[in-house]
Amino acid sequence: MLSRLLCTGIFCLSFAHPALALSSISIEAATVETADTQLRNLRAEVKLPAADYLQLHLAGEIKSAADSSQAPAPDHVKSEAGHSWQAASLDCAALVQKNLAAGQQEWQCAKGLLNLQGAKLPFSLSLQQQNPGYQLALQLQGASFSDAAGSHAAENLHLQATLNLKPDVAAPAKAAPAKSAQAQARPGWQWQLGLDWQQGELYWQPWYIASGGHTLQASGHYAGDTLSVTQAALNLDKVGQASASGLWQGGKIQTLHVDAPDLALAPLYSLLLQPMLADSALNKLELAGQAGLSLHIEHGEPVSALLSLKQVDMEDQQGRFALYKLNAHIPWEYDAARQVQLNYAGGHLLKIPLGETSVLAELNRYSLTTPQLYLPILDGALSLTDVSATQAGGQWHWHLRANLVPISMPALSHALGWPRMEGKVAAAIPMVTYSAGNLTTNGDLLFQMFNGNILVKGLRMQTPLGSAARLQANLEMQRLDLGDLTRTFSFGAIEGKLDGAVNHLELSNWQPVAFDADFHSSPGKYRKKISQRAVENISALGGAGAVAAIQRSVLRFFDEFNYADLGWRCQLRNDICSMSGVEYSGPGYVIVKGSGVPAITVMGYNHKVGWSDLITRLKRVTEGNSSPVIK
């Protein structure tokens, strides 16, 4: 729109030129129509305050017929602003025409102002007619604009632009070879562009550029529907430099070569990448290090690319993951398989520390494969074999075989901020698949701890790094040592063995929302003792009056009691835990069934308890009992 109005202005001036003897001229036109723009009530006024310059004022109303720029705006905005007549004006406070040597002319417009709906563009302009060609210099001085929705806007923009245009020389010998055969048929222009964004802020959804200091130098050829860029050099302040060349034909990029070997990742991320990653797990990163990128597009299709990362530190601001001293060399070719290299010195994923790792993989068009990935974790490792990942339909799908080389529980429980636990964890999962945010395992994770086994079966996760992570699994416990268990969680001491199952466990946002839990004494012969404090704690968990220890009077005389059986079941649904025990007895249920001398029986009378209440009480009980762990 800008260029069209300027052209109109120039046209009017040349029209008024023969009448220099007059002090002012005004021309009015009712309507002017072009292919995509309508103008009406046009008024052009030229004043001659002095002999050596003119004053120009051009005003009217403008309506865009093909209102494509308004299309994304909501309906109501469109009807208000999209297809109605908008007032527009163009002013030039000092318009000077100079005759240079040999039929060359120069037009200068100082203190120009273009006013359009939502745009106020103060400028100065000079247009030099050369022999042959033109030279245009435009300076925007504090320009501002905004579309109706406010998704594209700028304020206080200071921009210097120069454009040199030279028509093609008629002799074909001078024209560019081979590829611009088409260009030879039509008259074309050699162009050279310089842009210097000096200051001002720009919001171009989703990007925001807070200040200037960016430059672009480019040159090439233009003819008909073909724009070729022989070379372009872009300099982004604080980020780095990129060079490019390419061919744009019929509204499509045909050829593009971009090369940016050394970019500062932190400013690049906040300036360009972060808005593009808004809905991914990478949307809140602290970054440091350098990145390099090159990309080749031929015949409108990407054919090769190279991404390299140098000494990159990457940390999720929400603490979900981090990688330190990450180096990567990721080449890609459409027609050939390439070797990907990646290594990092350390990091963590969901608080689990990751050790120094080096990865080699093969990238073949849209799939990534590697026979083995070995990721050290604490004193063990996650060994992934037969890894295969594919991108299809914008989503990643992968499958692999996973083995967890035993990790010791004291280190892992410390890393996760849990109470210190003895034992180790290992796993053999024949198949892990991930497809469109869903992680499924086919195999068992085995935690060897508390002198027994905890098996995690059928583990599934949805969007583990997303805001609403979900997890489903079934847990099975075999012969856990109650002594170890109660010591670890600072619960009153109980001696014995525990079997159990937590079926249909469902976590949402890492909080349990449903499960069917059943814990009971393991079968077999072993020492079964329960301490006075454990009995009191179990009573406290049930809430006042909910749990009663039969033979309460006996409590005072003994520190520990014999039991035959203990058990607790909880079915969690909608934050309510429906409880029962070893067996029902009258209005209640038996949690600890006494046997021998001195024996104790603990009864529960509360059949339903709020899960959050229970957790609060459990915390109070375990914290109240906290004492050094005696090995």
């Binding site: 998704s151 989703p206 925001y208 609403a468 946002n509």
Partner: protein, 162 residues
């Protein structure tokens, strides 16, 4: 627990249609009306409990509450409004300084993630994931009812100032 613990919100979900014409006819029809009302009652008992609480739901609600302090200024300036489908949307970015527009977009997107998760969690907690759309439309009405005057919401014709 059975769904339908809380009866107070039932009317907003399953509005009962009482046909006044039926009052004019004889006893037989009157008794059928009683039967119909009874049927509506049983249907209503199967409706969603919107006040249901799980750790996931209270987590989402906390996160929304924290964000509300940041969003309320944008509701008041008309930059952000309530949509018909129980979400929020940038209505007029021009009401926000350029430097804050990215931030508003991020807030709106995070808020909508939470809102979508909330509707899904409430439906799931009621053991009826297929009720999500119903939960959403009930909440959409609630947000508008709760909105302060001067805030914007969407109706069939576009944005409306409350």
């Amino acid at each position: 627990m059975k769904a339908g613990m809380n009866m107070t919100y039932l009317s907003s979900i399953k509005p009962s249609h009482i046909n006044t014409r039926k009052f004019f006819v004889n006893l037989v029809l009157l008794s059928s009306l009683v039967l119909a009302t009874a049927l509506l009652m049983t249907q209503a008992q199967a409706a969603a409990d919107l006040e249901i609480n799980t750790p996931a739901i209270s987590g989402i609600k906390n996160s929304m509450q924290t964000r509300h302090a940041q969003l309320s200024g944008f509701y008041a300036s008309g930059a952000v409004g309530f949509t018909r489908d129980g979400l929020v949307a940038v209505r007029d970015a021009n009401a926000v300084p350029l430097a804050q527009r990215q931030g508003v977009n991020a807030l709106v997107s995070a808020e909508n993630n939470d809102r979508n998760a909330l509707y899904r969690e409430i439906a799931t907690a009621n053991s009826h994931p297929e009720w999500e759309a119903e939960v959403r439309s009930t909440f959409a009405q609630r947000w508008i009812q709760k909105a302060q005057s001067g805030w914007y919401y969407q109706d069939g014709s576009g944005w409306v100032k409350k």
